[in-house]
């Protein structure tokens, strides 16, 4: 085996050197002029070629494997090939590859795909089958291009495919478990394709079906004569496989031998390409090939810049539909080309690419920096839009790839190169002092790092620092990731673009929250007054806002600030559309059906999987903090009406539901755990409650899980004590503090402190007896009449409140004529009250009640998101 490999490799390098000879021959006339740019370019081209050739060499060796393996068991595969006898004989002795003719090679390839199809068929993977089939069809078409007959192998595959497709479909109909959507789709597509192909090759198929042996014989007869001439076709085959360019050049230059690509003609060719761009029948792949070739022959820097600009945009053009993403290889080459472009401009400051060039210039003429008035040659183009597009395409591809497969992880690795490119672009804009694109590129950079843990950021930064072009702000200069994010954001705050400022602010807050810096995050959020204007922002920014708020809530939870966590997370959970608001899944609308456009827009907004905030963890945090706030509150109120006022509606709903259940089994889901824990807390069994809460599996996803669990245990002890006091106070006249401290395993001091606090806040009608160490309760039972008097007082005051609100609304609605009545004075007063209120709100906010007037504003923001969504 090893011999085969080696030999395959040998022959490959042979041919490669052949090709190098050829290509250098091509370039020979241009060489002197292009000497400066030469290395990078040719390296690039060569890698492309060697890629393809190495892949083909793999295929070859695979094939020879196959033929080796299959040879003894010809019966099973049933593939009598024209070349079998020869190759078998010779493969044992000398180099078999040399002998393999082009057509044989193609045949081998086809068999390879056929085998892959068989395998896929076994596991019922129709997506793979469909792909393989497409490959096969392409090969067959190529075959017919060189006017060779249709190989019987293909026909046979076709007919067998037909039967298996039909089988699969009937099976699918009967089967209980449906296959997944993509697979099913592929199956139907396959059926169509097979049908079409069958029609096309009707005659051959019929022939084959009547007499397979004869058909094959006929084929081998036509092919046989070519076999003994190995050298020439081989060369041809090489051309076809490795350099598809060559082939297309022949088609381009229809009349003549091939199109001439020379340095002089570059601009003409460029223009031709650009004119064809966007037209209906343009073959985009072909255009890219032409441009690649042009790049190869480009001599001067100016030419190369022009060609690169055109090439990159045509790469982005390759995909016309908005929904599907760019193929990865195309993306990678586009990324490399952008890098190249930046490198050219960065190395030679005499050239510059700008979006708006005041000077008109002739597209067809060659230009040099020396001709320009200020010695700087400006070319129309925009690097920032390339960067934007690259980044967007990257996100799009992540949205489309199944996040649980290895492909996703592979794709994620490309983020590193993308990040490097962004950093390089930042450096370029820093040097050239272009404020507007610099802001945009910094925003892109921030978006790549703000939500990542330190280790990932370090990896990204290391990659970018390894390159020779470095921006001003790097991790090593700022010492910590927070420093880096801070530097980037501060730069963005200074830009004039308010959208960038808002986004930078939100990212910065998110970053603070991620690093458990709750106070800074909260202060920034409140000081920015974003909650007042966020509902006017675009959907993406609203999503970012929601993410930030949620992250802040999680951060508060981790820091043990239960009340804050509950208040922050409450808003988003009352909507019951958490996933949609965080752009992590499409919400099923019950009463209205989304139009396809809406659905598509919705899907485009979705975040790639690796950026998701775990909603189950989020829910656990929210429910647990709700429990800690709500259960003592529930215990403290005794009348029915008060009970209706709940702090956390979603929690209350779940609790009621759990109450109604007759039998409760052992807890399974997170919710079960929390509900049972709540009940235990209500009964004063804090230990059971603690165990239940700590058993929740999802905590393991939280950083510092053990610390969080400890914190929760402590909170449960405290709230358990409070709940106990509220619930059982009516039944005692005194309670010993020492007993309380023992029951809840809290230090005596803490117990005293908690009880004192409750007395001071008038939650508990009691006082402490210091000498005896007990709590003395002074409970007064109200008579029925007294109770009624109290409740009527409450109701009356509620009614007055309501009246005032109604009047307010009415006055507000009729403001137009009301204002006319008392003129400017009323208006002024209105302004003043507005201001006063605004100020009050601000202080209330600043004082930390994260709830304050924020809830309603936030709800507005959310509502807007829904409307747009």
């Amino acid at each position: 085996m090893s011999r085969f490999f080696r030999q395959a490799g040998d022959s490959d390098s042979d041919s490669e050197s052949d090709e190098e000879l050829m290509s250098s021959g091509d370039e020979a006339p241009a060489k002197p002029a292009a000497s400066t740019a030469k290395p990078a370019m040719s390296r690039f081209l060569r890698t492309a070629q060697s890629d393809s050739s190495s892949s083909s060499s793999e295929e070859e060796s695979d094939d020879s494997d196959d033929s080796d393996d299959e040879a003894p068991q010809k019966k099973r595969t049933g593939l009598p090939r024209a070349s079998d006898s020869e190759s078998d004989e010779e493969s044992d002795e000398e180099a078999p590859v040399k002998i393999l003719s082009a057509s044989e090679k193609r045949l081998a390839e086809m068999e390879g795909t056929g085998k892959a199809m068989d395998n896929a068929l076994k596991i019922n993977d129709w997506v793979a089958i469909s792909n393989e089939y497409d490959k096969l069809t392409r090969m067959v078409q190529k075959q017919s291009n060189v006017s060779e007959p249709i190989p019987p192998f293909y026909i046979r595959t076709l007919s067998s495919l037909e039967t298996s497709v039909n089988n699969a479909q009937t099976k699918e109909k009967e089967a209980k478990k449906k296959m997944n959507a993509t697979n099913a789709k592929a199956l139907t597509a396959m059926k169509q394709k097979v049908k079409k192909a069958l029609k096309e090759y009707e005659r051959e198929v019929k022939l084959f079906q009547t007499d397979p042996e004869a058909f094959e014989r006929e084929f081998s007869a036509t092919v046989a004569p070519e076999a003994p001439a190995p050298r020439a076709p081989r060369k041809k085959a090489r051309d076809e496989e490795s350099g598809e360019e060559d082939e297309t050049f022949q088609t381009v230059g229809k009349g003549g031998k091939a199109m001439q690509f020379t340095a002089e003609g570059i601009f003409k060719n460029l223009q031709a390409v650009q004119e064809a761009r966007g037209k209906k029948n343009t073959d985009r792949a072909e255009q890219i090939r032409i441009l690649e070739k042009l790049l190869e022959v480009a001599v001067t820097t100016y030419q190369r810049i022009r060609v690169l600009l055109a090439l990159i945009s045509s790469r982005f053009d390759y995909n016309s539909s908005v929904a599907s993403h760019m193929p990865n290889e195309l993306w990678l080459s586009a990324q490399r080309e952008v890098d190249q472009l930046i490198a050219i401009i960065a190395s030679d400051r005499k050239y510059s690419i700008e979006e708006v060039v005041s000077l008109e210039y002739d597209e067809l003429a060659e230009r040099t920096p020396a001709d320009e008035p200020d010695g700087i040659l400006r070319v129309r183009g925009s690097i920032i839009s390339f960067i934007d597009r690259l980044d967007d395409e990257f996100t799009k591809s992540l949205q489309n790839i199944d996040p649980h497969g290895t492909e996703y992880v592979e794709r994620l690795k490309d983020e590193k190169v993308l990040y490097c490119t962004i950093c390089r672009a930042q450096e370029f804009y820093e040097k050239t002092n272009q404020a507007e694109p610099l802001g945009r590129v910094i925003m892109r950079r921030t978006e790549h790092i703000y939500s990542k843990p330190d280790a990932v950021v370090q990896a990204l930064e290391q990659a970018s620092e390894a390159s020779d072009i470095k921006p001003n702000m790097t991790l090593s200069l700022q010492t910590s990731t927070s420093g880096l994010v801070h530097a980037l954001c501060v730069h963005l705050y200074k830009t004039g673009n308010s959208l960038l400022r808002t986004r930078a602010m939100l990212s910065h807050i998110f970053h603070h929250a991620l690093h458990n810096d709750f106070y800074s995050g909260r202060d920034m959020l409140l000081m920015s007054h974003l909650q007042e204007s966020i509902h006017q922002a675009d959907v993406a920014t609203q999503i970012l806002y929601n993410r930030t708020v949620v992250q802040l809530g999680l951060c508060a939870f981790r820091c043990g600030l239960i009340k804050e966590a509950q208040g922050t997370l409450q808003d988003i959970f009352t909507t019951q559309r958490v996933k949609e608001l965080l752009a992590q899944g499409v919400h099923q609308q019950r009463f209205q059906v989304l139009t396809p456009e809406q659905e598509k827009a919705e899907r485009q907004r979705q975040l790639p999987f690796h950026m998701h905030i775990n909603t189950e963890l989020l829910e656990a945090a929210f429910l647990v903090s709700s429990m800690l706030v709500e259960i003592p509150l529930l215990a403290s109120i005794d009348s029915e009406e008060q009970k209706r006022k709940a702090i956390s509606k979603p929690f209350r709903r779940l609790l009621d539901f759990a109450d109604r259940q007759v039998f409760t089994g052992p807890p399974e889901s997170t919710r079960d755990h929390i509900m049972q824990a709540s009940k235990a807390l209500q009964d004063g069994e804090w230990e059971k409650c603690r165990d239940l809460i700590q058993d929740i599996k999802i905590w393991s996803l939280m950083p510092e899980a053990t610390a969080v669990k400890e914190m929760l245990a402590k909170r449960i002890q405290e709230q358990g004590l409070r709940t106990y006091l509220f619930t059982y106070a009516p039944h005692y006249s005194t309670l010993s503090l020492a007993l309380l401290s023992r029951t809840f395993s809290l230090p005596l001091r803490t117990v005293t402190s908690i009880v004192s606090k409750m007395i001071w806040n008038e939650e508990l009608a009691a006082s402490l007896d210091q000498s005896k160490g007990v709590v003395v309760f002074h409970r007064i039972e109200h008579s029925r009449a007294q109770q009624l008097a109290l409740s009527i007082a409450d109701k009356v005051s509620a009614m007055v409140d309501q009246n005032e609100k109604t009047l307010d609304l009415k006055m507000g609605g009729g403001a137009t004529w009301g204002d006319r009545a008392d003129g400017a004075k009323g208006e002024k007063r209105g302004e003043q009250t507005q201001e006063r209120r605004g100020r009050g709100e601000r202080t209330r906010g600043a004082r930390g009640g994260a709830r304050g007037g924020r809830g309603s504003r936030f709800a507005q923001g959310l509502g807007n998101a829904q409307r747009v969504g």
Binding site: G496, S498, R501, T502, Y519, M527, S528, H529, L530, E532, S533, R749, T752, S753, S756, K757, I759, W760, A765, S767, L768, D769, Q770, S771, K772, V776, H778, I780, H782, Q786, A789, L790, A793, D794, V796, S797, V800, N803, E804, K805, L807, D808, K810, M811, G814, G818, A821, D822, R829, T833, Q834, E835, R837, R839, G840, R842, T843, A846, R847, G848
Partner: protein, 471 residues
């Protein structure tokens, strides 16, 4: 104790000259090595025109070195400049002090200028000489003179920027000469000036230009906050005024955003004003803000705990948030030292301690039903007899006189606090309803009534309208 010293934090927000008293105080307290303080004083003096002072400091620091010669030269220079400036200023002063002129001057500054120009040939540039001279006098330490000149300049000048600057200069001069009444007045006008400056919308995302004035306003408020400490802690009524000012939303915001360390002074003032909050007998009516000062301050302290913490604030926190009396007592003894060492607060050390004890015992009594006198005395850092006396006084002074009795036999205080009768709470709840409903009716009739007959009732309605909360 040096870690609690705020001088270093505060000094950047003070004028160079205002810093001298602070440093002088530091040299007395021995918190820092005396030599370092002296060097700091010298560095400070070097930047002013007080050359003799600087020279004397220099010789104190380096007794074995000659005073550098350039001091002499600078001094001579300064004297000559002074003379020149004085001449210029004198010319204007002569005109202004003329009784005719004084009578002719009116409110309108532009008219005044015109008048001076027509009759005495005085231009704006000449008037500026007053400012320059005032500033120069300030720079060599003649504060009262500076205050005079700056006052005259402010009356005449129309240049906004320089007038503001003159305001600050006058305030500093008044502070340094110790005329607290005048300084207080000056402080209030300056505060109005700062607050009245175009209240720009605080939306940070609107445009670049909008941020700058807001930032500038925040900046000047921060400075004003620091400077006002001099006045508030020296003026008779100062602490109350401090609470009034610092607890207003704008200044509270300023403190929270840019200078949380001011919380120490706020907390101290709140504690010092306790009497005003418990006994309402004082003739001057206190606003609700001052009355609830402690509650407010505790809230702020709690929110800003992550930014600033010192014994004074933690004392309040332990007492009113944690109700940990032992910790509160510990913090109090620390706070006592801090207050004693603080430049602004040193005068109030005893007062502070007294009031803090009251707070502790008040809270203690409210929570407990039966208190051991010995234990309470211990909490207050007092001996047993002293404690008893103290408690008797406390019971007499505060409102709980009726509820608390001392049982000497068992050595305990019994506190019997009857629960609020339900009738009382019903009355409380329904108290404001009638007025509010009236206001509603008035507002309704104003909205619906025909325009012609509206005149008289509207006047009444206008008076009540603010009672309607807008929300």
């Amino acid at each position: 104790m040096a870690e609690y010293d705020l001088s270093k934090t505060i000094i950047p927000y003070l004028d160079r000259h205002l810093t001298f008293p602070l440093l002088a105080h530091l040299s007395e307290t021995n918190l820092f090595p005396p030599r370092e303080v002296q060097i700091a004083q010298y560095e400070l003096a070097k930047g002013t025109n007080m050359f003799t002072y600087a020279a004397s400091l220099f010789s104190q620091i380096n007794p074995d070195q000659e005073v550098p010669a350039d001091f002499e030269e600078k001094m001579r220079n300064a004297v000559s400049i002074n003379e020149k400036l004085q001449q210029e200023a004198q010319a204007i002063l002569n005109v202004i002090e003329n009784p005719d002129v004084a009578q002719a001057l009116r409110q309108d500054k532009n008219q005044n200028l015109q008048y001076l120009k027509d009759n005495y040939n005085l231009t704006l540039d000449q008037i500026r000489a007053l400012y320059t001279f005032g500033q120069y006098q300030y720079s060599y330490g003649n504060y009262s003179g500076a205050a005079d000149y700056l006052y005259h300049f402010r009356v005449l000048s129309t240049d906004n920027e320089l007038t503001t600057s003159a305001h600050w200069g006058k305030l500093a001069s008044d502070i340094l000469t110790g005329k607290w009444d005048v300084a207080l007045e000056e402080l209030n006008t300056l505060r109005e000036l700062v607050d009245s400056r175009q209240p720009t919308p605080l939306v940070s995302s609107s445009s670049q230009a909008a941020i700058e004035p807001t930032l500038a306003q925040l900046h000047s408020r921060t400075w004003l906050t620091h400077w006002s400490l001099f006045v508030y802690f020296n003026h008779e009524q100062g602490r109350m005024l401090l609470l009034e000012t610092f607890l207003s939303p704008t200044y509270l915001n300023t403190i929270q955003t840019s200078c949380p360390w001011i919380l120490r002074y706020l907390a101290t003032a709140a504690i010092l004003c306790r009497k005003a909050s418990t006994t309402n007998s004082t003739s001057t009516p206190t606003s609700s803000r001052v009355r609830n000062a402690i509650r407010e301050v505790v809230k702020v302290i709690q929110t800003e705990e992550y930014q600033f913490q010192d014994p004074v604030t933690s004392f309040l926190k332990e007492l009113y948030v944690e109700f940990d009396f032992e910790a509160a007592q510990r913090e109090l003894s620390l706070a006592e030292k801090v207050v004693g060492d603080d430049f602004f607060l040193q005068e109030f050390k005893d007062d502070f301690l007294d009031n803090a004890r009251y707070l502790i015992s008040e809270a203690y009594c409210r929570i407990h039903q039966r208190i051991d006198i010995g234990d309470l005395s211990e909490r207050l850092n007092l001996s047993r007899d002293e404690g008893e006396k103290w408690i008797v006084n406390l019971i007499r002074e505060t409102r709980m006189g009726a509820d608390a009795k001392i049982d000497l036999e068992k050595n305990v205080i019994e506190i019997n606090r009857p629960a609020l009768p339900i009738y009382q709470s019903v009355i409380e709840k329904t108290r404001g309803l009638a007025i509010r409903t009236q206001a509603l009716g008035a507002a309704l009739s104003r909205a619906n009534g025909p325009q012609a007959t509206q005149q008289p009732p509207r006047a009444a309605a206008d008076g009540q309208a603010p009672a309607i909360p807008v929300n």
